[in-house]
């Protein structure tokens, strides 16, 4: 029976932890892959500071130690009206199965939370199957994650079916079928009232559009990830390996909207984040028209979007449900719950949690360059 110990992650532990993490998740997610630069991006480069990360180690016969478990919190900047918050997203939480009788994991996570009780206003988690465990630590369930997708204005079901066919058969004649179908879908798409402006990552970071976007929009956003240039740069534009298109539109009235779309997979794009200000349903509807058209023109058959059922204002969810459909497997998949815990610091500040404004932005560690962007890699 190996001796166990816990310690804080320190610089230099990345390779060992990344190896163990990938080994742990490989049974469940065979395509799981994460480069060291990506891991370092996640651990060190958040505008809110480096991640808090704790290791569980077992002693080897030769006296050395190996990593057998981990708990992490990735700091994310959020806003709630005029208030700036630091929220911690649980990251790469795991304990190797053979040690679950030898180590009380929940007590370990409880101690981790106690160590950072002054740092985070809220910690949150989004993973299947962990609600019961985390509720014991004071987490409450906000909602469950939902995934929506859009194929085409007409023949939507068929378009989404063609995407699924070609998803696993990326060769002729399926790719030819996909291209032909895309042409049909484009012909039958609703004509948007405007076209979107697309920025490169560098252009977006330097643009006037984003320089003052969040200071103006944050007041109506509720509890929401902060979308200043620094946050969007870290999260999307400077993320190693990311292929993200940045699309914006400004109406004559001064209303503005942006969308960040993962374009790595040619037939199925993912809407990773968006914001429309003011938050009017008619503006969102028109923006989605333009976005769907843009996606088709860029070669995608479908566009997916993840949120929670209450993670958008009700009038926005009405628009999404009208324009998009649930993922076909959603009925049979175990839901990923979205749970959160207000820290002692948050309680001391009198923090009252309204509805969360949720997109893939908040699931910071989820890989976004994979054929199945709807899958989560790694326990969270």
């Amino acid at each position: 029976m190996a001796r166990l110990r816990t310690r804080r992650f320190s610089v230099g532990d990345e390779a060992a932890l990344n190896d163990v993490y990938l080994h742990f998740v490989s049974d469940r997610w065979p395509n799981a892959a994460r480069s060291l630069p990506l891991m370092r991006w996640l651990w060190y480069e958040s505008p809110a500071g480096p991640a808090d990360s704790w290791l569980v180690e077992a002693e080897n016969a030769d006296g050395s130690w190996r990593i057998v478990g981990h708990h992490g919190l990735c700091p994310m900047r959020f806003t709630l009206g005029d208030v700036d918050l630091v929220c911690g997203k649980t990251t790469n939480t795991f304990l190797m199965p053979e040690f679950r009788s030898e180590f009380v994991y929940l007590r370990f996570e409880q101690q981790c939370l106690a160590e950072v009780r002054s740092k985070y206003d809220i910690t949150y988690s989004n993973a299947p199957g962990v609600t019961r465990l985390r509720q014991a630590l004071g987490y409450v369930k906000h909602d469950s994650w939902i995934e929506l997708e859009h194929g085409s204005a007409r023949f939507d079901l068929a378009t989404r079916g063609v995407m699924r066919l070609v998803q696993h058969r990326r060769h002729a004649p399926w790719t030819q079928l996909a291209r032909a179908w895309r042409t049909i879908a484009l012909q039958t798409a609703r004509r948007p009232p405007f076209s979107l402006v697309e920025y490169s990552p560098d252009e977006a970071a330097a643009s006037a559009f984003f320089s003052d976007f969040w200071p103006q929009a944050r007041g109506e956003a509720g509890l929401s990830p902060r979308r200043d240039v620094a946050d969007l740069s870290w999260r999307y534009w400077k993320r190693p390996g990311a292929r993200v298109a940045t699309l914006v539109h400004t109406w004559a009235s001064g209303a503005r909207a942006f969308a960040l779309v993962d374009v790595a997979y040619p037939y199925n794009f993912s809407l990773l984040d968006f914001f429309v200000t003011p938050m009017r349903a008619d503006l969102l509807d028109a923006f989605l028209d333009a976005l769907f058209c843009w996606s088709l023109q860029r070669g995608a058959l479908t566009l997916r979007f993840g949120t929670t059922a209450s993670g958008q204002p009700a009038h926005f969810m009405d628009v999404f449900r009208k324009r998009m459909r649930p993922h076909p497997m959603s009925r049979w998949r175990a839901p990923s719950d979205f749970v959160y815990r207000v820290s002692p610091a948050g309680h001391a500040a009198g923090l009252k949690i309204p509805a969360w404004n949720v997109t893939d932005f908040v699931v910071v560690e989820r890989p976004i360059t994979s054929p199945s962007p709807s899958s989560t890699h790694g326990v969270q």
Binding site: F103, L106, F108
Partner: protein, 85 residues
């Protein structure tokens, strides 16, 4: 919470009765003396709840380094018998 009291010497049957009163996924009736709790369906929360409830009922706190000694009924009974007043 359970109403079962644990008294020295603590036996496996006492512990089965104690566990039956807790809200866990463990089926005490199927737990042999030497079966690890996690092999009997306990998850992290169940194990945590067992140790927390034991502490509340007996005053015996089980530190991390002793957890491997108490992950069966027999181990837990012997441990508590040694340490309960």
């Amino acid at each position: 919470m359970t109403d079962v009291r644990l008294e020295r010497p603590v036996t496996c049957d006492q512990l089965r009765a104690f566990l039956a009163g807790l809200d866990t996924m463990i089926d005490p009736g199927k737990l042999r003396d030497d079966t690890r709790f996690t092999d009997a369906g306990a998850d992290s929360l169940d194990f945590f709840n067992v140790l927390t409830s034991i502490h509340a009922a007996t005053g015996v706190e089980i530190p991390d380094q002793d957890v491997p000694l108490v992950n069966t009924l027999a181990g837990l009974a012997a441990y508590l018998t040694d340490r309960m007043a």
